[in-house]
């Protein structure tokens, strides 16, 4: 009644059908895992976002100044521009000049 070709193609079709459902099942399980992970990521993201907002509040200059006055008796004086070096070369240059002056003074002293 049925010829060989039909049987073979039917069989292949059946195998593919079973194989597809097996893959689909595996995919479903994977998606379940992805879902769980996504859910966790989303939760962590939310927590991170809240933490960032909280951090920005806790590290705001106004809050820090208030806490400083609450817990410390030290007075912080702003450093004047003439008191800071902005680059390493500036520092080295200053050191070099200072050494030169000191050497000059030492020489003057020995002369006397």
């Amino acid at each position: 009644m049925f010829n060989k070709k039909i049987c073979v193609s039917g069989l292949i079709f059946l195998i593919l059908l079973i194989f597809t459902s097996f893959i689909k099942n595996e995919t479903r399980l994977l998606e379940k895992k992805i879902y769980n992970l996504n859910h966790k990521i989303s939760k962590l993201r939310h927590e991170l976002h809240d933490a960032k907002v909280e951090y920005s509040y806790l590290s705001s200059p106004k809050y820090l100044f208030n806490k400083l006055s609450e817990f410390s008796s030290e007075k912080y004086v702003p450093r004047s521009f003439s008191e800071i070096y902005l680059s390493l070369s500036e520092l080295l240059e200053h050191q070099y000049q200072k050494t030169k002056i000191n050497v000059y003074h030492d020489k003057e002293k020995t002369k006397k």
Binding site: K32, S42, H46, H49, S80, L86
Partner: protein
């Protein structure tokens, strides 16, 4: 199958032709039965094939389907902010969205309304019970409280009342509360910007594709705080009604700080209609007085009418112009150089220079500097100066800053053009890498001359801004003492300064609204300690500007990209 059936039919016909009539007649019914069975099998087979085909197509379609549709994306609630965050130039958070709850009441689910009112009154003593009872009786669904805090949410949740519904909503939060009140603005209940940057950049802030990228502003949180603090201090010291400050990069127009006092808490939703809460820097329209003298001198220099050393002869004590009598606050010599006129801030001297320039040139210069048209910045709250009618005596009064109104923002922008080499750069609040459009308004040589004169305003013994001479920053600038356009009894004192910190040029504008003499304040003036006895700009706003520059100067210097904190060390001297 069909072929076989046809064959059998042909065979039967053949049989008839071979005279198997008996057989034919006896097996006729049997054969017809067989045919029916065959047909049924065929139909059944066709149905099965059809079903398998549908099933196969379905399986095939599912197999090629995109995994997106199969995923569980929609099933879990992911927190995705509706609006983008706003950060300062260093990435510090200024505005963000968080999840909050609104508490609503479904009246038909409340069994004992009186009991509920009593319970709510115990937990929230400030509520209006009359309104609540009215709402409970007349409305099916109404909001009891919007934007609940965590504490309030827990209180209501612990009541266990069925009728109370918690609606999750997203809300804007401002971690620095008052600090950026005039700049950032607010959003409404539906998360649409209604003022400030939230309003101006509304479309950009709600763009879903940019959700993870914050909107970066040019402002600096730390500098904003320092200036805010100094201004608040100055309001107390000089008993002023309010204050304003603007710090701007003179080369690219980036606004680093914008403060207007009094301010308000952005996290509290209150209706603020009082005039004092107007943004003084961008919306406030003022006659800024003597700071306009700089523009007059700059134009005269640019047009080669005078040089800084040109002597203006026969400067009278008073000049009658139409109905007005124009004079100086102090008595000045009747011969002064152009430079001296600006340093000493002589009204009559400036007026004489303006007459040399002529009205047409002056008018077009004011237009070029955008001083009399609507202010331009990425904010909703911008002021438009009163239109200028060039009638009799206008040129003379405008030359020293009277009879012309403008916003402090516009004045500071024009000053930036005076000192940055002569380019007008549009001020901006949005940090981007795009090259800013620059328009030349004066020659580079004119800018250099103006720089040197303005420096002398701070360093010269007759200069009006000596209190701002802070070591290391090459401060220069011009003071302005004027009256309110609408109330001549109130003073507006302004100082626009220009200073350099680590090779970068900055414009700092400080303004005090009706400051009084600070009799308890001891000034360090020319090495002498003197008590406050005057009320001009040189004795209040200049003093404040000096304090501000002293504080923010090192921060601005260290902020430069190529210097790292590791190199910043204390000097030994």
């Amino acid at each position: 199958m069909i072929k076989k059936k046809q064959k059998s039919r042909i065979f039967n016909q053949n049989q008839q032709s071979f005279y198997f009539k008996d057989f034919y007649s006896s097996s006729e019914s049997h054969k017809s039965k067989l045919n029916i069975i065959e047909d049924r099998i065929f139909i059944l087979f066709s149905v099965f094939v059809f079903l398998i085909l549908i099933f196969a197509i379905k399986v095939f379609l599912i197999s090629i389907e995109q995994p997106k549709k199969l995923s569980y994306h929609q099933t879990y609630s992911e927190f995705a902010p509706i609006r983008r965050d706003i950060v300062d130039r260093n990435g510090n958070l200024i505005s963000s969205s968080i999840q909050m709850y609104n508490a609503a009441i479904r009246s038909n689910l409340v069994k004992d309304k009186k009991k509920l009112i009593l319970k709510l009154q115990l937990q929230f003593p400030k509520i209006n019970t009359e309104i609540l009872s009215n709402n409970l009786n007349n409305k099916k669904y109404f909001y009891f409280k919007k934007r609940l805090t965590n504490k309030e949410y827990k209180k209501l949740w612990l009541m266990g009342e069925k009728g109370i519904v918690f609606e999750p909503v997203q809300n804007r939060i401002y971690p620095h509360s008052n600090l950026f009140s005039h700049l950032i603005g607010q959003t409404d209940d539906d998360n649409y910007g209604i003022s400030g940057i939230e309003y101006f950049f509304d479309k950009e802030l709600i763009k879903a594709e940019l959700n993870d990228i914050p909107l970066t502003l040019t402002v600096d949180l730390n500098i904003q705080h320092v200036i805010n603090k100094e201004l608040k201090k100055s309001i107390n010291t000089f008993n002023a009604n309010g204050a304003g400050a603007l710090l701007m990069d003179a080369d690219n127009g980036e606004v680093i700080s914008l403060v207007s006092l009094p301010d308000f808490d952005l996290n509290k939703r209150e209706k603020i209609n009082a005039d004092e809460f107007t943004n003084k820097i961008t919306k406030g329209i003022f006659e800024l007085g003597s700071i306009f003298k700089t523009f007059t001198v700059a134009l005269a220099l640019d047009e080669n009418i005078v040089t800084p050393s040109t002597i203006i002869k026969n400067i009278p004590n008073t000049v009658k112009c139409s109905r007005h009598e124009i004079s100086d606050m102090k008595k000045f010599p009747n011969e002064m150089s152009v430079e001296e006129i600006l340093i000493k801030s002589s009204n009559v001297g400036t007026l004489k220079i303006a007459r040399m320039i002529g009205q047409n040139k002056f008018e077009s210069f004011i237009e070029k500097l955008n001083l009399n048209s609507r202010a331009d910045l990425e904010l909703g709250e911008l002021g438009t100066p009163h239109s200028l009618k060039w009638n009799k005596c206008k040129l003379e009064t405008v030359s020293y800053g009277h009879g012309i109104t403008t916003t402090p923002l516009q004045a500071a922008t024009a000053y930036a053009a005076m000192v940055n080499g002569g380019y007008y750069v549009k001020p901006t609040l949005k940090k981007d890498t795009l090259l800013k459009k620059k328009t030349r308004v004066i020659k580079e040589s004119t800018s250099k001359s103006i720089n040197s004169i303005l420096r002398k305003v701070v360093t010269h013994k007759d200069g009006t801004a000596r209190l701002a001479n802070i070591f290391g920053y090459e401060v220069s600038g011009k003071t302005g003492t004027s009256q309110y356009y609408s109330n001549k009894n109130k003073n507006i004192n302004t100082f626009i300064s220009y200073f350099v910190s680590n090779e970068k040029k900055y414009i700092l504008l400080i303004m005090l609204d009706d400051p009084k003499i600070a009799r308890d304040l001891i000034y360090d003036y020319n090495g002498f300690k003197i008590k406050g006895f005057r009320n001009e700009a040189g004795w209040n706003v200049v003093y404040v500007a000096g304090k501000v520059i002293e504080r923010i100067g090192p921060i601005l210097a260290i902020n430069k990209n190529n210097s790292t904190n590791i190199n910043v060390v204390k000097k030994f001297n």
